[in-house]
């Protein structure tokens, strides 16, 4: 078996515990079903392209992107735990290179991102099935969002985990950054109708682009703007991934 596959196997074993799975599934479900239906009294529907979506359908599709981002946290947590519990050094005195280690993290978050996206899509399906427009052009958008989103947010989490030294610092920074990503985005509410500074801030947030691509995949409204968003996501992912790789490669032992 290839060293990277062995490391992915190990990463999945240590990451996919009950707590994580509950967090990954229950947490978005609460947003979708509690938040979604509770806010319906305030937000009846959201106009989206040439469609009008129920708020639960809107938030359920947003939760797919949100969950991809949350899954990517695993990458940071794996690196952080490996450093904290001595496994980073232990792996590197074994039959592995740093490249194996980095690639295994990418594949791990990709797999977890896909699983999470599939789970939430399945759970949210009853809410958005009326507006759904899957076709051969839009289906790959969901896969694209899962993979690129995982790499992008995984790289951010990895960068944070390589730069910080204390547990407290790691938790504070990662929670703050991901809280910003989650709530200053179009995952929960549309940019249209929001106060101008906030709607501008939405587009300084990669989660907004990710969620837009997911929605384009589900509701079939792929257009030039989504294509530009995809380009931005790819560029940003590659840049952040190279930074994360360089930082990991330089991490002192």
């Amino acid at each position: 078996m290839h060293p990277v596959i062995r490391l992915v196997n190990r990463n999945l074993t240590i990451s996919l515990n009950k707590g994580f799975m509950i967090w990954q599934v229950i947490f978005p479900l609460i947003y979708i079903f509690v938040g979604g239906f509770a806010y319906t009294a305030l937000i009846d529907s959201v106009s989206y392209g040439n469609k009008t979506l129920d708020y639960p359908a809107y938030i359920a599709s947003g939760m797919i992107g949100f969950n991809i981002m949350n899954s990517a946290l695993v990458s940071g947590i794996i690196i952080w735990n490996d450093r904290r519990h001595g496994m980073f050094e232990q792996i590197l005195v074994g039959p592995f290179t740093r490249t194996h280690y980095i690639l295994s993290n990418v594949y791990t978050i990709g797999i977890i991102g896909l699983i999470s996206a599939t789970l939430i899509t399945a759970v949210g399906y009853p809410l958005f099935f009326e507006s759904i427009e899957f076709n051969f052009l839009t289906m790959p958008l969901l896969v694209f969002a899962s993979v690129v989103g995982s790499i992008l947010f995984g790289s951010i989490a990895s960068i944070i985990s390589t730069r910080l030294k204390s547990s407290e610092g790691f938790n504070v920074v990662i929670n703050t950054v991901f809280l910003f990503f989650a709530f200053v985005s179009t995952a929960f509410y549309p940019a249209e109708g929001s106060p101008l500074p906030l709607s501008i801030a939405f587009y300084f947030n990669p989660l907004t682009y990710l969620v837009d691509v997911v929605r384009a995949g589900i509701f079939g409204n792929f257009d030039t703007f989504v294509a530009i968003e995809m380009l931005v996501l790819v560029t940003l992912s590659l840049t952040l991934f190279s930074i994360a790789t360089k930082l990991l490669a330089k991490l002192e032992l």
Partner: protein
């Protein structure tokens, strides 16, 4: 050909030479002890030999492979137990061993057999289902060492493996390593506990301030550096006048703890003993006990390190 061979191996951090041009030659199938005070360069040397960090200068061949050019080839053939704890907090003891074997590409059937064998050998069977995060430091250390035997290797690096272990677990581990060495495993072993090195090692090197200051078998080191012997004489009565009687004799100490104790520490301890015995006999002083304490590796270590410190100062 040696199992480990280094020439002028060095590692510098700025102006600090953590390892300063060391030459090592460790033969196959031997247990090689690497001793030194804190900060002497032991762990840095292990990090160099296990290819975790690159050297600043020098050459090193591990198992006949150029470790600077082909570090991965070396790492595929060695086992390493680092000084710092390493564990997966969310895995149970059994799962840790099993997954570690998987990481080393050990076949499933062999893995299962080895897990059972190691759980028993390291007295871990009772805690097999407990997560690493919930273990005591000593238990975690046992898992860490046991885990390394999940895969085949020709050379094992152990950086203070017995830290945190109780005496029984410590002895069990040392005997386990001795048995493995009998089967042909070469072991590079660092420890602070010199009785351990004396118990287990075929050859010993002492490092101080990044340089190797002595290297030989424990017995030869004692012959070379252990000329000073300790002899103890015990009298059952308190004889405060003894210091007057022994005037002119050097290299002895007196204490009056439960009788009178005379301790001789000298390079010529037999000669000193003879003089003292003559005085005691002449004064009709009865000896209750007389014992010679063999020179330990610890004394040699302290003597060699102190001399090295004095010469570098």
């Amino acid at each position: 050909m040696s199992c480990i061979e280094t020439k002028l191996l060095s590692k510098s951090y700025g102006i600090i030479n953590a390892v300063d041009g060391i030459d090592l030659s460790v033969n196959y199938g031997k247990i090689f002890g690497f001793l030194g005070p804190n900060g002497a360069g032991k762990t840095t040397t292990i990090k160099l030999l296990t290819t975790l960090i690159p050297p600043t200068a020098g050459t090193m061949k591990i198992l006949g492979i150029d470790a600077i050019r082909s570090p991965l080839e070396v790492r595929k053939k060695i086992g390493v137990v680092l000084q710092q704890p390493s564990y997966e907090p969310t895995l149970s003891v059994e799962k840790s061993l099993e997954k570690y074997g998987m990481m080393w590409n050990v076949e499933r059937k062999i893995r299962q057999d080895r897990v059972e064998e190691l759980l028993s050998a390291f007295d871990l069977a009772e805690i097999r289902n407990i997560k690493n995060d919930e273990l005591s430091i000593g238990q975690r250390r046992r898992v860490q060492v046991a885990r390394e035997f999940m895969h085949d290797m020709k050379l094992l690096f152990l950086d203070e493996p017995t830290v945190g272990l109780d005496p029984s677990a410590r002895r069990g581990l040392l005997d386990f390593i001795k048995d493995k060495a009998k089967d042909g495993l070469t072991v590079f072993f660092t420890t602070h506990l010199l009785n351990e090195a004396e118990y287990i090692c075929d050859e010993v090197a002492i490092i101080n301030k990044g340089k190797i200051i002595a290297i030989d078998t424990p017995e030869e080191l004692k012959n070379k550096f252990g000329r000073e012997k300790t002899i103890k004489i015990h009298l059952d009565t308190v004889r405060k006048d003894l210091s007057d009687l022994l005037i002119g004799i050097k290299d002895y100490e007196l204490d009056f703890n439960s009788g009178t104790n005379i301790t001789i520490r000298s390079n010529d301890s037999e000669e000193v003993l003879l003089k003292i015995l003559q005085i005691l006999t002449a004064n009709n002083i009865v000896i209750e006990d007389l014992s010679a304490i063999p020179t330990s590796l610890e004394e040699i270590f302290l003597s060699v390190v102190n001399k090295s410190n004095a010469s570098s100062d």
